[in-house]
Each structure stands twice: as C-alpha cells, then as structure tokens.
C-alpha cells in the first residue's frame, strides 16, 4: 500500500500521455493531482508499517514513512500540483510530454523519501537524476538544452558515487543496507559513509563546489526549474543529511564539515544572486544559498530546523519561480533589465512580493521563523557561525529587494499597464503557493511549530530579533539606495556581472576545466591505444613471422620453403609458420606502407585461399592436440 504514493502519479503520467491532447483534460489533470496528494496523505495517515520487496537472494528494498519522510511525502505533491497546473496553462504546445514527465518526477521523489535502505534510496536518487535529464533537455530541438541536461546529470552523478560507496561500505561492515544500520557503524567505516553521504548531498543540493550546475539546469522550462529547486532534485541532498546526520554521531568532523560547506555556499550563492543580471539564474543563486542555510542547521545539530527551512523554502521558491516565468513571458526575455512589470501584472507582483518577503526572512513570515531558528541553533554551537548567518541575512534581504524592484517595481510612467487588475490563469496556479507561504507564518504562534517533530518549543529572544530586523532593513535599504542611483542592475559593474555569470569562476575552473582535461586524457589514451597497445601486438606478430620463417628455412631446404612447408614439414613447424605467415601478412597490411606492393600481393593471395587455409590450420591444431595426447599416454 505504501507504493501507492509513487504509483498514483506514475499511473497518472501514463494516463496523461493518452488523455492530455483531448478537450477538457484540465479537469482530469486536476483529479489526477488531487489523487496524487490523496495517495500520499493516505500512506501517511494509514500506516507506519514497512514494506520489504525481495530483489534477489541478498538484496531487498525496504520502504516506509519516517517522521520527516512523511512531511516530505505530503510536501512533494502539494508543491508539484500548482506547478503542474502552471505547466498545463503556460506550456500548451508541449504539455503532452511535459506534464507526464513532471508527474514521473514526483513519483521518483516520493519513492526517494519512502526509502528505508541505501539501495532503495540510490535507486530513487538516480531515477530523480535521470528525470531531471529528461526535463531539463525538454526543449531538445534547440542545441543548448541537451548539453545543459548532460552537465546536470553528470555533475550530480559525481556525487552519486558517494552514495554507491556509502552503501557498499555499510554492507561490508554490517551486512545490511538499512539506513538505521548506519548507527551501528564504527570508525573508519563510519567516516567513509559520512564522506560519501556528504559528497552525494553536496552535489545534489548544489553546494560549493558543485553549485554551478544549477545554471545549466536553467535550460529547462520554468515549471521544471520551479519543481526541481523546491521539492525534488535539489531537496534530495538536504533530505538525505537531515535523515542520516543524527545517525553518524561517531564521526566528529561530520557536522562541522556540513556546516562549513553550507556557510561557504550561503555566501557564494548570495553574492551570485545579488550580482546576476538574469531572473532565473538569480533565483538559482538564491536556491544554492538557501540550501546552504539548511546545511548550517544540520551542521549545528538541528536537523528538524533544516527540515522546516526545506518545507518553507519549497513553498516560497516555487512561488517565486512561477512568478519569474510570468515575468519572462511578459517581457519576452529572462533579462532583469527589461522587466519592472508591476503596472502590467499587479496581481502577479503582489503574489511574488509575498514570496520575496519570506525569502528576505522578514519576521512573522515562515522564512523569517526558520532563519531565526537557524541563527539560534548556530549560535549555540559557535557564536562566530551564528553571527555569520545573521550577517548573511543582509545579503539575502538585499537580493530579495533587488529582485522585487527589478522584476515587479512599478517602472517608469507610461509603461504598459493593465486596464483593470485581474486574476489570470497563471496567477491562479500561484495562489495556493502564496497562501501556503502566508500560512507558514503560523510558526510564530505559540505551539505553531508542533507539527515539525523536534522543532517546537523554540523561542527567540527580543534582542536577536531586533538585531535581525536591523540587518534585514539594512540590506533592503541598500537595494533601494542603489536603485535611486540607478546602479541596482549591476551593483558591482560589469566585472561583478561576469563573476556572477560564471558562478564566481567555478564554471570555468571546475566545469569547463574538468570536462576539457577529461576529454584530453581520453584522447591521449585513445591515441595510446591505437598506436602503442595495438602496435605492440603487431610487433609481436612481425617478430613471430621472422622467427618462424628462419626456422622453416632451416628445416625445409626448398626454394619456396615457407609456403611448401605445410605439405612436407612436421606438423608443428607447419602450424607455427602458417600462423606466423598470416600474422605477418596482417602486420604488413596494417604496417606503414613500406611494402605496399608485397602487402597487396599477399593479401590478394590470402583472399583467394583463405577458407581452406583456415580449415587446414584448425586441422593442424587438432592434430597437434592428438599428437601430444598420444605421447602423453
């Protein structure tokens, strides 16, 4: 029954392939989305039992909903439903392939959060990656998306190696792939598993030094970006560490390492977002930074807070992406320079503003709550880290304000404006996500965080709240000030924009350099293979020929000994010389062309008599075998 959660969207995808081109398919899609959410809800409500599927004599797959897994199980279809609705509304031409693929994407992610062992997790993990390849490359007729999809898949697969290694080490040490068996590990097996998990999670959750694949992933349609940044692909990495980090207490460096990766990424992603001149890449930088905050929370020993941040971020980030999709559609490009659509699309601007407030972590929003909780958790471990997280809030507020002004600012007088503000179909799909963002403000209520296991009962002191508000205000005001001076579009000039475009130099340094050097190594090896390895073989053949010719001439003193030896010499010698002759001919044919004439002559001779010569060869071989047998007896 647990399998219903992934199976329902999978079946819906299959049905969608047939039904979507028909009229009235929108209502059917709505039913499918409701069923998908219902299946997840039913699995969460009905049972905590586990399902084990035998996969062979040694292997088995186990599925079941853990506490946080259940939250994710509900979150994924809840986020996906409005996004898929948006895809249905805006991508009418390609909805027949896009919508089913998005549903399969949801199914694989549901499978991932149901995994109770590392084998099942790896299966779902790689399937999520493969789906992202299909979705990012969805506009496959253009030259760009296929290679962008490849970059995404390969970068995240480098991380997958960590998961392979973790699973293997876990099995070798405990005889099981179960996630809860990680707890029983001793060092150094625990260190290897920890390293593998951190590698896998960092690559998937777009942390430094892998973060730059998010730019490539922008080649996908907007709904794909919205989904993979919020509740699927990228979320898988943070989810993995939230679930496993409490089990690896035996590894002292594990949590600090996670926090360090998160801290570096929080700033790197923030700078990228602040300097970007395009809408979607700016949001990509922001995603990377926000997942950095989750990593900091995990590293501070507060995985429940990281879980809260994951949920909150999923809701507002999908909202912001859909808004960005509308802005790109209206302005005809993804460039921030030509937007400021507040007058044209006031309703969309309002909905996006709700998301931006949460992104900026303004108190009384959901984003504000998780941000404060992360600062508090980090402060408990290290005042320095807590302070740095607090300071990063200024950066976040700055780029949130910047995006708000550049995308949804009112613009100059006389720009296109809507006659009467109204709710359009694409706005309608954003509405549930905006409502969700507002609803998450309840976290500030007493007991409002009770549904987040382990995250409730946390209060913030007034001083740190005031400090946070000051930092956020400073960041936002800085954006306003730059806007007045007209430099908001490129706060650090052309060099800054260039830096953001290359993800602070990570794209040329890692992506391009690694790809280029790998290709160069591959080319070198291929040349080595053709010239040296194969040449060695040819050399041996040529030497054998020379040697056996010499023997043949000594044994059989006739003018044409090498050829006539078959009939008259001993079987063994004949056998050798025949093989050698063929090899030699082959060597000559393949050789430098010194003896073109002779090679031509001999190969012609070969082609005429080849079949019966080979039968002779085999007969000779068998005769030798029998000869030895007779002697041996």
């Amino acid at each position: 029954m647990i399998l219903l959660a992934p199976l329902v969207p999978l079946l819906a995808a299959g049905a969608g392939w047939w039904l979507l081109p028909r009229r009235g398919s929108g209502w059917l899609l709505l039913v499918a989305l409701v069923l998908t959410m219902g299946a997840a809800g039913w699995v969460v409500a009905s049972s905590t039992r586990e399902l084990t599927i035998g996969w062979g004599p040694v292997l088995s797959l186990s599925l079941g909903a853990t506490a946080f897994g259940a939250t994710m199980l509900l979150l994924i279809p809840a986020i996906a439903a409005p996004i898929i609705g948006y895809a249905y509304v805006t991508e009418a031409a390609s909805r027949r392939s896009l919508v089913p693929l998005l549903l399969v994407f949801v199914a694989t992610m549901e499978l991932l959060v149901l995994s109770r062992d590392l084998l099942m997790l790896l299966v779902a993990w790689e399937l999520v990656g493969a789906m992202s390849w299909l979705l990012i490359g969805h506009r496959w007729r253009d030259p760009g998306p296929p290679s962008a999809a490849r970059i995404t898949f390969i970068t995240t697969r480098i991380g997958d190696l960590g998961l392979y290694a973790a699973a293997g080490v876990l099995f070798a040490a405990t005889g099981s792939f179960r996630i809860d068996a990680i707890m029983a590990l001793d060092r150094p097996a625990a260190d290897l598993v920890a390293a593998g998990l951190l590698l896998a999670a960092s690559a998937k959750s777009a942390q430094v030094p892998f973060a730059q694949w998010l730019f490539a992933a922008m080649a996908g349609p907007t709904p794909v970006s919205a989904l993979l940044h919020s509740a699927t692909l990228v979320a898988a990495g943070a989810y993995l560490l939230i679930v496993t980090s409490p089990l690896l207490g035996a590894v002292p460096w594990f949590l600090p390492a996670i926090a360090l990766v998160g801290l570096v990424t929080a700033f790197a992603g923030g700078v990228v977002a602040a300097l970007q001149s395009d809408a979607k890449p700016a949001l990509a930088g922001s995603t990377s930074a926000q997942y950095g905050l989750m990593f900091i929370a995990i590293g501070a020993g507060a995985p429940a807070i990281a879980g809260a941040q994951l949920v909150i971020h999923a809701v507002f980030k999908s909202l912001l992406f859909l808004g960005a999709g509308v802005a790109m559609h209206e302005s005809g490009s993804g460039r921030l320079a030509g937007m400021r659509l507040g007058r044209l699309r006031p309703v969309t601007a309002l909905l996006s503003a709700i998301g931006l407030l949460a992104l900026a972590a303004v108190p009384l929003t959901g984003g504000g709550w998780s941000k404060e909780a992360i600062v508090a958790a980090a402060d408990e471990r290290s005042v320095l880290v807590g302070t740095l997280v607090l300071a990063s809030g200024a950066l976040t507020a700055f780029y949130a304000m910047r995006l708000g002004l550049l995308m949804w600012g009112p613009g100059q007088r006389g720009t296109a404006r809507e006659e009467r503000p109204r709710l359009r179909a694409d706005d309608l799909t954003m509405l549930p996500l905006a409502a969700g963002t507002v609803a998450l403000s309840m976290l500030w209520l007493p007991g409002g965080a009770a549904w987040l296991a382990g995250a409730d009962g946390r209060g913030f002191d007034l001083f740190s709240l005031l400090l946070s508000m000051g930092v956020i205000a400073a960041g936002a005001l800085a954006a306003v000030a730059l806007d007045r001076r007209g430099t908001l579009l490129a706060p650090a000039g052309d060099r800054g924009a260039e830096l953001a475009r290359t993800w602070l130099g990570f794209i040329p340094l890692f992506q391009s350099a690694v790809a280029r050097e790998s290709m160069r190594l591959a080319d070198t090896l291929a040349r080595f293979d053709a010239r040296v390895v194969d040449a060695g073989v040819r050399l041996i053949w040529r030497l054998t020929r020379t040697l056996s010719r010499a023997i043949a001439y000594r044994d059989v003193v006739t003018v044409d000994g090498a050829v006539r030896a078959i009939g008259s010499g001993t079987l063994l010698t004949a056998d050798l010389s025949r093989i050698a002759d063929e090899r030699g001919v082959d060597g000559t044919v393949e050789g430098t062309g010194r003896a073109v004439g002779r090679a031509g002559l001999e190969s012609r001779r070969l082609q005429t008599g080849m079949s019966h010569e080979y039968l002779q060869l085999i007969a000779a071989g068998l005769a030798v075998a029998l000869f030895i047998l007779v002697i041996a007896r």
Binding site: V58, L119, E126, G137, A165, L615, I618, G621
Partner: protein, 496 residues
C-alpha cells in the same frame, strides 16, 4: 533435451545451407523466417530446462554419451546456475539476431546457416560438461564468426576478420595446452568438468599450477577481452554486420568470462586466490581505461566496443573479489559473484541491442560517425527510445538490468578491495558522460537537412529491439527472476 538444443541448430544449418532458390528477396525472407523458427527451438527447450531447474547447486539435467572412452572424453552436457542463464540469453540473442534484417549480399543461405551453426556451438559451449567438448566448441565458434565478419562485413572486413581470428586463435593455443596439462594432472585422467572440480588436480602444485593458470588466463583474457589484449575488438565490431556484432559482444565475449568462472575459479581456486588481487587491478584498469578510451571515440560502434571493455572489466572485478580468500566477507563475495554473473547476462542483452541498433543506423545513414547525425528524435521515435533505454541501461541506471549487476559488484568489491572499488566507480561517471553525449549529438538538437527523410525502424526491428528492451527493464525491476537461479550456483560456491 539439452543435446537437441545444441545439435538441432547445427544440423538445421546444413539444411539451410543447402537451400536452393533463395536468390530472390522473397525467398530470402522466407528462408530467414524458417531459420528464425529453428533458432527459437533451443530457446524454448532452455526455458523448459529453466522451469525444471531445481537449484541444487550442482550440475543438473545431465546427458552423457561416451565419445572417446579411452581418453575420458564424453559428450556430456548439463546446466547449473551459471550456465543456464548464459545459455538462455545466448539462445534469445540468436533468435533476435537471426530475425534481424541484414544485407545478405546474395548469400542468404550461407549467412543463415552460419548463424544457426554458431548458435548451436555457442549454446554447446555453455552447456558442455567436458573440457574437450568445451574446447571444440570454443575453437569452432571462432571460425563461424570469422566468416560472418569476413564475408558479410563492410569497410576493411577481411582485415578485421583476420585480426579477430588470429588474435583469438593465438589465445586458444595456450588454452589448449592448459586444458591438456590439467588433464594430465588428473588421476584418473578425465576431461569431465564435475570430476575435475572434485579432484582439484593442481592443488598445491606451485609453479606448475601458475604456468597452467597463465595458459588459461591468456586464452580467456584475450576473448573477454581485458586490457591490454583488447585491440582486436574495435575493428572486428566496426566492420562486422550488425547481428554478428551483437553476437560477438553478447555471446562470444561471455565465453571468456564464463571460462574464468567455470575453469579457473572452480578447478584451480587456490591459484586463482593467489592471483586475484593482480587480476582485480587489471580489471580496474580495463574499467577506467575502457571507459576513457570510449569517451574519445567518434565512431558509434567503436564507442560501444570500448564500453564492452569497460563492462567486462566489471565482470572480472566481481570474479576476482569472489575468488580471493577474505574471511568474514563471504556475504560481499556472494554479492560480487551474483553481480558479475548477472552482468554477463545484462551486458549480452544491452550491448547486443545497441549493436543491432548501430546496424540499423548504418543502413539508414551510411556512416557510424556520431557527429554526422543530429536531431534524429524528430524522425525516429522508436529508434531513439530504444537507443536511449539501452544507453541508460549501459550506464547503470536503476530500474534497468545493468544497475543491479554493477551495484552488486561495487558493493561486494567495497568489502574486499575498497580502494580498487573507489577507483572503479569513476567508470560510471565516464560512461554516463559518453552515452549522454552520444544521445545528445545523434538524437537531440536541430535535425540536419540531409536526415529529413530518414525512416524509423521497421516492424521486425522494432519487435526485436522491443523484446531486448523489455527484458532489460524486467530484469532491472525484478532481478530476482534471474538472480535466484544464479545464486543457486554462487551461494555454495562462495561458501566453499
């Protein structure tokens, strides 16, 4: 019954070879249909054997006819958990390959006769319970494949066929000597495999055992092929007709890895254990080197050929892990050998399918050069989907057959040779890169003007590829179907 599965296609080959009046296209088609039906009989017989298979751990359904009693040679065939999946995969691949359309060059009868002959011989090799019989099948398979490449190949087919033949034949001579040495060391002298496994004739034989080991190793390593004995493979594949290429990769390469398990690991386990680590190192070199050289290829068939080197490296790595003495890691060793055996089957289906597809691409576009193509998805849905599924299976995507095999090999290796396993993992990133690049360049992006009228796969081809794809998915989703049979051999083997 197993005897019929071997002899029927061989005898039918004579009948088909003598067929007259097949010069017309119609006659050729009819003869091909007849040959396909004949080729399917061994498959059905093996499926019956599968249904009767008890999983006792030893050889089952053995059929013996004395042949040369004074030498201890007998016609003895049977199945166990190792040979049954391989023989069944072989029969299946032959049905698909024989049904596959190919340019007969006016000699349909000879082509189909050779394919049928090769089918009987290949099945015979996996079912043979007698070393002498094994060697006869081994050698004769080379001849049949030589003619298939030489006579129906393209490009520089004669040269490639010759290189294939001489190289692998050079490997079969030390193999023959090693078989004889093993025979001479047995007491009473016998070629019977079960008896040789019981006797362990070379246990504690020191240097002599090492020399014999080397003889077997050379024969098997060339056929598998392992780096650095692999350079015969790419030219043979490039110039062979599609179906022959599929058989070469799918069936003939498995003869090498099968020999490793059936002879070296079973009859000389002590020598194998001593040399398992260097063998594992060589396997890892095959994995990484094969993948990287494949990455540099611009020719579709060369690319797939080098990924075969990579995949056979996984198999050998799993075998080395299972054969070493590693107290306390029996579970990991069992995992590795289960995986390695499944990889033989999975690679046969996946790479067999990819080579068949390559043949169809050549007949449509006239070239194997990847860069010549682009945007084919626009024209050829079936071809694209088939290639994509098989390519993803080859790069080890879960849900498809390759993953289950490779995951078990990696997981097992991590328990025994952890450092080698980490290095070997690089292989799956490189294969992912090269297959996604191939898919992107050939099937995605803008469609060049010259391919605007490229036809999609015909019904027979679609059915053939569809069958292989379906099996790859089936094994990927429910691997227990095959793994349970394999494990009936592996579990007692690893337990010692």
């Amino acid at each position: 019954m197993l005897t019929i599965a071997i002899l029927l296609p061989i005898l039918a080959a004579i009948g088909v070879g003598l067929a007259r009046n097949v010069s017309t296209g119609d006659g050729e088609r009819r003869l091909q249909q007849v040959a396909t039906v004949v080729a399917a009989v061994p498959l059905i017989l093996l499926l019956v054997a599968w249904s009767r298979f008890g999983g006792s751990g030893g050889f089952e359904q053995v059929e013996t006819v004395p042949w040369i009693p004074t030498l201890g040679v007998a016609w003895k065939v049977g199945v166990d958990g190792l040979s049954l999946p391989l023989a069944t995969m072989t029969a299946l691949l032959f049905v698909v390959a024989i049904a596959y359309p190919v340019d007969f060059r006016g000699r349909a009868a000879a082509y189909l006769a050779l394919m049928l002959f090769l089918e009987g011989v290949s099945i015979g090799l996996f079912l043979a319970q007698d070393l002498f019989l094994f060697f006869v099948f081994w050698d004769v398979s080379l001849v049949a494949m030589y003619f298939l490449i030489g006579a129906w190949g393209h490009g520089d087919a004669a040269r490639s066929a010759l290189k294939f033949f001489v190289y692998t034949f050079a490997g079969s001579l030390p193999l023959l000597l090693a078989i004889l040495a093993l025979y001479l060391a047995s007491e009473p002298r016998t070629f019977d495999m079960a008896e040789l496994i019981r006797q362990q004739p070379l246990a504690g034989a020191g240097l002599y055992a090492m020399v014999v080991f080397l003889g077997f190793f050379l024969g098997f390593a060339i056929k598998t092929p392992m780096v650095p004995f692999h350079t015969w493979l790419p030219p043979a594949h490039v110039d062979a007709p599609g179906p022959a290429s599929a058989i070469l990769a799918g069936v003939l390469l498995k003869m090498g890895t099968y020999g490793f398990v059936r002879i070296l690991m079973s009859m000389m386990p002590d020598a194998f254990a001593d040399l398992a680590f260097p063998l594992a190192v060589l396997a890892v070199i095959s994995i990484v080197y094969g993948a990287l050289v494949a990455l540099a290829q611009t020719n579709l068939k060369r690319l797939i050929a080098y990924t075969s080197v990579n995949h056979m490296g996984y198999v050998i790595l799993g075998l080395a892990v299972a054969g070493v003495v590693a107290p306390g890691q029996e579970a990991a060793q069992r995992l590795a050998l289960d995986g390695a055996t499944l990889e033989m089957v999975a690679h046969g289906l996946i790479t067999g399918g990819l080579f068949l597809i390559s043949g169809s691409i050549l007949t449509r576009g006239g070239t194997y050069e990847i860069a010549e193509y682009g945007g084919l998805l626009d024209r050829t849905r079936g071809l694209t989907v088939g290639t994509a599924v098989l390519a993803f299976a080859s790069l080890g995507l879960p849900g498809l057959a390759g993953f289950v095999a490779e995951f078990q090999i990696f997981a097992g290796t991590l328990g025994v040779f952890p450092v080698l396993a980490m290095v070997a993992l690089i292989g799956i990133v490189v294969t992912a890169a090269l297959f996604l690049r191939m898919l992107g360049q050939m099937f995605l992006g803008p469609l060049p003007e010259r391919w605007r009228s490229l036809p999609d796969l015909g019904r027979v081809v679609l059915g053939a590829i569809g069958l292989l794809v379906a099996l790859v998915v089936l094994i990927g989703v429910a691997p227990a179907l095959v793994l349970d049979v394999i494990d009936s051999f592996v579990a007692p083997f690893v337990a010692g």
